[in-house]
């Protein structure tokens, strides 16, 4: 049981990191990025290709993160322009449909060009014993990266001027503009960050198992569930929700079976919407 919970925490940290990138873009720009998982996979495939070409894993990973970040930024600067000019429901719908299109394009291109490519980072070293459970170093490194990234994000959003400016746009865009905050700049920054985070999750996931070209839809679905449960726009909420859902995932997989976990997670999201429409934490709270 202890091992199941620990595995759940490892998974939950990944879930949390996955949710953050999606939740921020939604909270700030009102865009549900359905291509989020595909951008993550694209980043992972870039890493795999660089490594195939002989680049050391660490530098390959940096290239992957950078490419995914630039793709996020490009989407913000091009395809999302008409979305930002709309308000309310038309904005959400247009953003959703355009991003769905991007998801299909990335999926299609990856499956056409690199059908058998996948990323798995093997982290060397002997398993480490934690409260009597032997943990693989890959799991530990992935968790450490997720925790560190979460901590950096929390500090950035709580204390940095740019972080506060981003939160101000999430909470009241008009108020933010009146304070001299440029919402377009905040959006670009968050789209860039979201792309980097997506690729980072794909890289850390590949430390415990392969990330294949078709994994995009799974990433997107999980990110969506985590973001909804955590409260769209909330960083801490996403991590909290990620941890809870990670543990729910491994426990239900252990006692019932892996086939049922996605359904249970979706049910958790549905129940959250019914009981607490704003998620665990409300929008814009760090």
């Amino acid at each position: 049981m202890k091992a199941v919970i620990l595995d759940g925490i490892v998974l939950g940290l990944q879930f949390g990191l996955l949710g953050v990138g999606l939740t921020l873009v939604y909270g700030l720009a009102g865009v549900l990025n359905l291509a989020y998982g595909q951008i993550a996979v694209l980043g992972a495939i870039v890493v795999a290709l660089r490594m195939d070409a002989g680049m050391p894993a660490f530098f390959a990973a940096l290239v992957g993160l950078a490419v995914a970040g630039v793709i996020g930024l490009l989407l913000d600067q091009t395809l999302m322009r008409p979305v930002y000019r709309r308000r309310g429901e038309p904005r959400v719908l247009l953003g959703l449909l355009l991003m769905l299109g991007v998801a299909f394009i990335i999926d299609g291109v990856l499956e056409w060009r690199y059908p058998i490519e996948s990323l798995s980072l093997r982290i060397g070293g002997d398993p480490v014993e934690i409260i009597g459970v032997r943990m693989r170093t890959g799991s530990l490194l992935a968790s450490a990266i997720a925790l560190a990234t979460g901590a950096v994000l929390a500090v950035f959003f709580r204390y940095a001027v740019a972080g506060k400016a981003i939160r101000s746009v999430i909470q009241d865009e008009e108020g933010a503009r009146l304070c001299g905050v440029n919402p377009a700049r905040a959006r670009s920054l968050v789209f860039l960050l979201s792309g980097v985070l997506a690729a980072l999750v794909a890289v850390t996931r590949s430390m415990t198992g392969p990330v294949t070209v078709t994994a995009g839809i799974d990433f997107t679905t999980l990110a969506l569930i985590v973001a909804v449960v955590g409260g769209l726009g909330s960083v801490t909420g996403a991590f909290l929700a990620g941890l809870v859902l990670g543990i729910v995932n491994t426990v239900s997989a252990f006692y019932i079976g892996t086939y049922v976990t996605t359904i249970i997670l979706l049910a958790a999201a549905a129940v959250t919407i019914v009981l607490r429409p704003t998620g665990l934490l409300g929008a814009g709270r760090t």
Binding site: S168, D172, G175, R177
Partner: protein, 232 residues
């Protein structure tokens, strides 16, 4: 010096404000009075960049600011306090004030000036803005606008939702700001309060300026008395 020339603005191609012109000298307090729907909010939104004017110009100290975006105009020294306040509800009072100084870090002098003016904000600095009372939210909205050391403070109906006592307190605070030399333009339906604060006033009706004059003149004007001061 704030100069508004022939400003036209509205929504969906339909103008609500038709060629409004007025000037505000440095250190002056000016009221724009008018009933609901006269175009006061539209006029102010067009001045601060939340709305793009369809025609006309706004200059601040000789520099054209009309047509620029709201965040840019705010950084150039025209601070707008909307009637709905638009605070950041999940942030503390301190954080709201700090964002008022964005993109700079807030200076300690500025902060203490605001907290001297509104001691209540100091007591509540760790509290989330969303949990403040209406009067405190109004103080915070004005305080936040002051943090950037603006040239001109533009206030839209600062008494919205306030009990008479709190409305009078709000105007007392504005009076102190005026004594500090701040240039103030206030749109108001509560005409007696506004005229008591302002040196001069403009009466806005159906998007046009119908009357202008010193506050004392307007207080004596029979039309103003009948329409806005409740004198039969």
């Amino acid at each position: 010096m704030l100069v508004v020339t022939g400003l036209c603005a509205g929504y969906l191609g339909e103008d609500v404000v038709h060629g409004v012109s007025f000037t505000v000298a440095d250190g002056e307090a000016v009221a724009v009075i008018g009933s609901n729907g006269a175009g006061k909010t539209t006029l102010f939104k067009a001045m601060c960049g939340l709305l793009r004017p369809s025609r006309g110009a706004v200059t601040l100290d000789g520099e054209a600011i009309s047509g620029r975006r709201a965040h840019d105009i705010a950084r150039r020294g025209l601070a707008y306090v909307p009637a709905e306040r638009h605070l950041f509800p999940e942030m503390t009072v301190s954080e709201n004030l700090e964002l008022g100084a964005y993109p700079k870090r807030p200076s300690p002098e500025r902060r203490s000036l605001v907290l001297d003016l509104f001691p209540r904000l100091g007591e509540r600095r760790r509290q989330r803005a969303g949990t403040l009372s209406g009067g405190e939210q109004q103080m915070l909205a004005v305080g936040r606008a002051l943090m950037a050391d603006p040239q001109v403070l533009l206030l839209d109906e600062p008494t919205t939702g306030l009990a008479p006592k709190l409305a009078a307190d709000a105007y007392a605070a504005l009076g102190r700001l005026r004594e500090h030399g701040l240039t103030i333009v206030v749109a108001e339906q509560q005409v007696p309060l506004a005229l008591a604060l302002a040196d001069r006033a403009y009466v806005l009706e159906t998007g046009r300026i119908q009357l202008e004059g010193s506050s004392a003149e307007l207080e004596r004007n029979p039309e103003v008395q009948r329409a806005y001061l409740g004198v039969a």
